[in-house]
């Protein structure tokens, strides 16, 4: 299996949700998708395709809030970034933590530092500050000084 085959299989399943595909090299792929499909995509990657969830990165940019979900296919040394762009005013997306525990902490962290809401998260409490920071202050947003 090579990166082309992985992209091909992915396209076959989620054609209508894919917005953009960038193949940086044989081992790095970035696929931008519609945020609504994240549960189905994660389910396919984790349960059927044998990917491991590494971590997710939230970014506050001009487009709004972006999240890169980093998945690793260890037998092939490949990193697949599932990229979603969320709404500027009300960023929210389905939580993956009911599927695997690996995303539990990082979703809590992104909720706390960026103010992104993860719907149906089992326990979306603060991870880092334990309530010692003011509500509604998100230190990783660009406007925070």
């Amino acid at each position: 299996m090579d990166s082309e085959a992985i992209i091909g299989l992915f396209k076959l399943r989620f054609k209508s949700y894919i917005l953009d595909v960038i193949k940086k090299n044989e081992k790095r792929i970035i696929i931008t998708v519609n945020p609504d499909a994240i549960i189905d995509i994660a389910d396919y990657l984790y349960k059927s395709a044998g990917f491991r969830f590494i971590i997710a990165t939230a970014i506050h940019s001009r487009k709004g809030f972006e999240i890169h979900y980093h998945f690793s296919k260890d037998s092939f040394g490949l990193i697949l970034n599932i990229h979603v762009v969320l709404d500027k005013e009300n960023p929210q997306i389905e939580s993956l933590s009911n599927m695997f525990n690996a995303s539990n902490w990082i979703e809590r962290e992104m909720h706390e530092l960026f103010g992104i809401n993860f719907m149906n998260h089992p326990n979306q409490e603060k991870l880092i500050s334990e309530g010692n920071w003011a509500e509604g202050v998100y230190p990783m947003r660009k406007e925070f000084k």
């Binding site: 940086k24 491991r52 590494i54 990165t57 902490w105 990082i106 880092i128």
Partner: protein, 401 residues
């Protein structure tokens, strides 16, 4: 409902070198539930990194962790070099690999020592840390520092390893191999260590996949994931070595993986030293003009597992977003699986088994009775509890009268 006692481990505790609070809810001696509070040491490094230039970020990420202070610059260098499409020289590859593997040896020795200490084997602690000392001397000789080596930069390394230094490096490594033989023999053949660590803190393969755990923690449960093999970088594809795995998933398996990995590391360094001979001296970096717009996913295998760095560049001289995932972030979460159902005496070693990566500050832990608020145990008493169990076992196995 039966009475549950809350046992907080931390925020400052000898078990952990960095502040973090674990709350063990116990019924008698058995741990029934575990909760944690993190963030006592949150330094905002990801945000800070956005205000530094690429050259400066290396010094910043090196200070994330005092013990694996090469893993973070390594992963960051991999990420930035991926954005700018930089091909480093072979000599650079060998030097980077030597530093990373030396670090693995000193970090694993440190862990073996600490694990011995928690079990009440202070001799193992003294030995392991004594044998670790020559490795730190090697670092001082190569980089000028015993820690925070400042060896990495974009496209190369800062210091060369000269021909004249190689014989001494080889000698220290061959001495280290003999010492590790001694240590491995002492740990692997001791019936009491077997009794204290076998079947304790078991993580199944499914637990590892669920929590996304990495490094020796994953490899001890039979999951052969290792970034050095899976996604080869630096000199790892140029040399011969094998991934060490075990299948039991308990504390003993984790110790076994770490001890055997040290032999692999020594062999890797020796091969890299051979490789250095073939390369032209002084050829340790390539010229980097600018970092273009783009994103890079860099990773490196730290002693504790995969370090992941995500860097987004907008073409300026500092990153727009820099995400860092240290291996302990995913490994610590497995405590929920490894500790619940164990006794308190075993909890200490189960927590220590994933080698939670912290840096030293103050130490304190006190056990309170949840109902009366009365103080029951302090840090030393908690460790003594673990030592007591070892001593009882020694008596049972008739090693000690």
């Amino acid at each position: 409902m039966s009475k549950k006692t809350l046992i907080p481990i931390g925020p400052y505790h000898p078990l952990q070198e960095e502040p973090e609070l674990f709350k063990l809810y116990c019924d008698g001696e058995i741990v029934k539930d575990i909760k944690w509070e993190t963030g006592y040491n949150h330094r905002g490094i990801e945000k800070l990194s956005e205000s530094k230039t690429y050259e400066q970020v290396f010094f910043l990420v090196e200070r994330i962790c005092g013990i694996c202070s090469t893993s973070h610059p390594f992963a960051f260098a991999n990420a930035v070099e991926e954005i700018a499409d930089i091909e480093i020289t072979d000599r650079t590859k060998y030097i980077r690999t030597i530093i990373a593997e030396l670090e693995r040896i000193h970090s694993h020795l440190l862990w073996v020592g600490l694990a011995g200490h928690f079990l009440g084997y202070n001799t193992v602690f003294m030995w392991a840390w004594k044998y670790r000392e020559p490795v730190l001397d090697l670092f001082e000789m190569i980089s000028g520092n015993r820690n925070s080596y400042a060896m990495f930069k974009v496209g190369g390394v800062r210091r060369d390893i000269e021909e004249a230094k190689i014989p001494l490096i080889r000698k220290i490594l061959s001495d280290a191999r003999k010492k590790i033989d001694l240590l491995t023999g002492a740990v692997m053949d001791d019936p009491v260590i077997h009794a204290r660590t076998k079947g304790v803190g078991i993580l199944t393969k499914q637990d590892i996949i669920d929590y996304g755990a990495v490094g020796p923690t994953a490899r001890a449960s039979g999951l052969a994931i290792d970034v050095r093999k899976d996604d080869p970088y630096a000199a790892y594809p140029l040399i011969n070595w094998k991934v060490i795995t075990a299948h039991e998933g308990d504390v003993f398996a984790k110790a076994q993986v770490r001890l055997l990995e040290m032999y692999e590391s020594i062999s890797m360094i020796e091969q890299c030293l051979d490789g250095l001979k073939k390369e032209k001296e002084g050829d340790i970096s390539v010229k980097v003009k600018e970092i273009p717009e783009g994103i890079g996913n860099g990773r490196a295998e730290a002693p504790r597992g995969e370090v992941f760095h995500f860097v987004q560049s907008d073409g300026s001289n500092s990153p727009v977003r820099h995400k860092i995932r240290a291996p302990s972030y995913v490994n610590i979460a497995t405590f929920r699986k490894s500790c619940i159902g164990q006794t308190i005496a075993d909890a200490t070693i189960s927590l220590a088994a994933v080698d939670p990566c912290y840096c030293c500050t103050e130490r304190m832990a006190v056990v309170y009775d949840m109902n009366s608020g009365e103080k029951i145990m302090n840090a030393n008493e908690l460790i003594n509890e673990s030592v007591r169990m070892t001593n009882e076992l020694k008596k049972t196995i008739k090693l000690q009268k």
